[in-house]
């Protein structure tokens, strides 16, 4: 069990190339469930390798609790990693789970007990005598998970553990991982490009892009208070809309319409160019004209396959997406409203403004 601290971590694979990870500072508290979330190439796997010791960062230090482990090799860090493609050995499931314990100086009966407990926990008790290589990806992943559980490691790192699992077995394995994780209460870092996995497994999520951690926050805040435009877009389906406009006195001018700002706003002085963020699910849509609502043309009405439609709307200068329960014909007009409670404001660089 350990708190994991990353201090000013930067990693450059090849001189002259942009860093794969840049200036990352995060503290993963002891016994918490965390996720690293970002698109492919964002640096999340590099960061994972640095934490487990497979890669030494170009700059920065790593601490487990208060101990500097930056120079420790992976085997001395006692961290468990569960990979995308589970590795099992060509031996029985029982022997697979026993493998990490073979050289430990503890009584045989104790080892056996631990293996059986873990087999139960990961749901392979009925498979103990089966050769592990004969099993499908979901069961192999269970065994891989079991093999690290018997070791009682300091922390668990999951690297996209579900992406190679048969689709029909995914949700069962998800609920099992979730259950094991809640029971163990260990420090966990779950690496994924999938927002659902991140928000399902973690209490706190670090959203990454281009080597940087853009926001490390609770799952509620990641959705409700994105620190920048990227996080706003990356979370949610469809992602947050952003409209570029200019502040003129008490309005934001969007060329085709303007948004009236509430009084007593504490916005930075001399602020002109801003981005307004609004999530598709928060936009109110009406087929009939409404006073003070904005008129948009329907470019497309696409079924989501989940009981609602996603409507693509535009004016001459702005394009947005909204959700709609009913079908709206292409080419027709709708009127939309952006409720004040759901408005996010960002500066021209896309960073959240408090107001």
């Amino acid at each position: 069990m350990a708190k994991i601290v990353l201090e000013n971590i930067t990693h450059i694979y090849n001189k002259g190339q942009p860093p794969a990870v840049e200036d990352v500072n995060i503290t993963f508290e002891d016994k918490t469930a965390n996720a690293l979330l970002g698109p492919s190439g964002c640096g999340k796997t590099t960061l994972l390798k640095i934490i487990c010791g497979l890669l030494k960062p170009t700059k920065g230090r790593i601490y487990f609790d208060d101990k500097d482990v930056t120079d420790l090799p992976p085997e001395k860090r006692n961290i468990a990693i569960i990979f995308q493609f589970p590795v099992v050995y060509s031996m029985s499931v029982y022997d697979n789970l026993m493998f990490p314990l073979r050289n430990l100086r503890i009584p045989a009966e104790e080892k056996r007990k631990r293996v059986l407990e873990v087999a139960e926990a990961v749901g392979v008790s009925h498979l103990l005598n089966v050769n592990a290589t004969k099993l499908g990806p979901a069961d192999r992943q269970r065994i891989a998970l079991g093999r690290v559980l018997v070791r009682e490691p300091n922390a668990f790192l999951f690297d996209e553990p579900l992406s190679s699992i048969e689709p029909e077995k995914k949700s069962l394995l998800k609920s099992e991982i979730k259950r094991i994780q809640e029971k163990l209460k260990q420090t966990t870092i779950y690496v994924t490009h999938d927002q659902t996995e991140a928000l399902t497994f973690a209490e706190k999520v670090a959203v990454m892009d281009k080597g940087r951690v853009l926001q490390y926050d609770t799952i509620e805040n990641i959705y409700a208070k994105p620190k920048n435009v990227f996080v706003g877009f990356f979370i949610g389906f469809p992602g947050m809309n952003t409209l570029e406009g200019q502040i003129k006195n008490d309005i934001i001018d969007f060329m085709d319409f303007s948004f009236k700002l509430p009084k007593n706003l504490k916005l930075p002085k001399n602020l002109i160019n801003v981005k307004l963020g609004i999530r598709p699910e928060h936009i109110e849509v009406s087929m009939e004209e409404k006073k003070d609502w904005y008129c948009f043309k329907v470019i497309a009405c696409a079924p989501s396959g989940k009981g609602f439609n996603i409507i693509h709307l535009s004016t001459d200068h702005q394009v947005i997406k909204a959700r709609s329960d009913s079908f709206v014909p292409e080419g027709s007009k709708v009127w939309v409203n952006f409720p004040l409670d759901y408005i996010h404001l960002f500066d021209e660089n896309g960073n959240r403004l408090s107001w």
Binding site: P39, T196, T200, G307, F308
Partner: protein
């Protein structure tokens, strides 16, 4: 535009049957999805239509002409495969131009077509780049441009969005749809995703274990899936199917589901010789609040709540059944909570045949 007709196509690899007597007529100009899980035989079927592999038996007709023995280049089919290979040493421009160079078109015509296609797919700024300098989405757009640049009367797309990040899929899907629609060609779009099939196409063929389960309009097929097998492919997560049996009570015919949920089906004309049924409910047709006065509440026990920012998928237990609900919002649920079913959303399937009997209608 070309009408495609497949007659009794079968194909085996190493003794394993991949396509089993597939027959399908796709009218000219149809935008069709070929929907099926992995290993259903989708890629093999597309390759047979493209002429890259030959069927063991059966025939293919384009506009009533037997093309079964035609080589790929004679068929004029545009193909985009899931794992698209760009020429690594050629620029984006030259990659897009490559099919036109093969046709030995004059240089000025090639230049015009490449630039037009690049404009449509927003690749104008990238024309001088090499594939290793491109992001996943840019590489995918380049592959698309290369396939679309030669005018074909048939386009075959094999999961073109599957290998993209989900955010890129979100951005590209409607764009891709518009581009394909503007082609006015016959299009077959293979996908494992029912959501993509609904979004893209007008018609859908359900393929499983090498067999066509159903072919019909998207609207009808997804609203009233004709069989349990088809219904299971119609949404992610899959449709809930709960067992129920017929009983009579006070002269009324009751469909009794696990002794908890009783539906009056007296006026529904269910077949009198069958007692066992499956009731189907889409995950998105389950609610956390009563929607109408007919709503039926069931006591549920939470298994797993999957959160996706603005949505959630909830796995829960009701009696002995494990069910799934999808909600377009997020709310943290307690261990025990109530789920509401709208009777008018219920589909009734025969347990024996797996066929759709009918949609539940309220008794008046």
């Amino acid at each position: 535009m070309t009408k495609i007709e497949l007659k009794n196509i079968s194909k085996s690899f190493f003794g394993q049957k991949v396509l089993d007597n597939v027959s399908l007529t796709i009218s000219s100009g149809t935008f069709m999805s070929l929907l099926g899980p992995s290993n259903a035989g989708k890629t093999t079927l597309l390759k047979i239509i493209a002429g890259v592999i030959k069927p063991d038996s059966g025939q293919i007709f384009f506009d009533d002409v037997d093309v079964t023995d035609w080589p790929p280049q004679k068929r004029n089919v545009g193909v985009i495969f899931q794992t698209f290979a760009l020429y690594p040493n050629l620029t984006v421009y030259e990659n897009i131009a490559s099919p036109l160079r093969m046709k030995k078109l004059p240089e000025n015509e090639i230049d015009k077509k490449v630039k037009d296609q690049a404009r449509i797919l927003k690749l104008e700024q990238l024309l001088d780049k090499k594939p290793n300098e491109l992001s996943g989405g840019e590489a995918q757009r380049t592959a698309l441009a290369r396939a679309l640049v030669k005018e074909a009367s048939i386009y075959l797309l094999d999961e073109p969005l599957t290998n993209l990040d989900y955010k890129l899929r979100e951005v590209m899907s409607i764009e891709l749809k518009k581009i394909l629609q503007s082609k006015k060609s016959t299009i077959i779009y293979a996908t494992p995703s029912p959501e993509e099939a609904r979004l893209f196409s007008d018609y859908v063929a359900f393929l499983q274990n090498g067999k066509i389960l159903h072919y019909g309009s998207v609207n009808e097929s997804f609203t009233l899936p004709p069989s349990v097998e088809v219904a299971k492919l119609c949404s992610t997560p899959s449709m809930n199917l709960i067992e129920g049996h017929l009983t009579t009570k006070e002269g009324k015919l009751i469909l009794d589901i696990a002794d908890r949920l009783k539906l009056d089906v007296t006026n529904l004309n269910l077949p009198t010789d069958e007692n066992e049924y499956l009731i189907g409910i889409y995950p998105y047709n389950l609610y956390l609040y009563p929607k109408t006065q007919d709503s039926i509440g069931i006591n549920s026990e939470l298994i797993l709540q999957e959160i996706a920012g603005s949505d959630m998928t909830v796995h829960f237990k009701w009696n002995n059944a494990t069910l799934v609900a999808y909600f377009p919002f997020v709310k943290i649920l307690d261990k025990n909570f109530k789920i509401y079913i709208e009777p008018s959303d219920i589909l009734i399937y025969s347990k024996r045949t797996g066929r759709l009997v009918q949609k539940y209608k309220k008794v008046v």
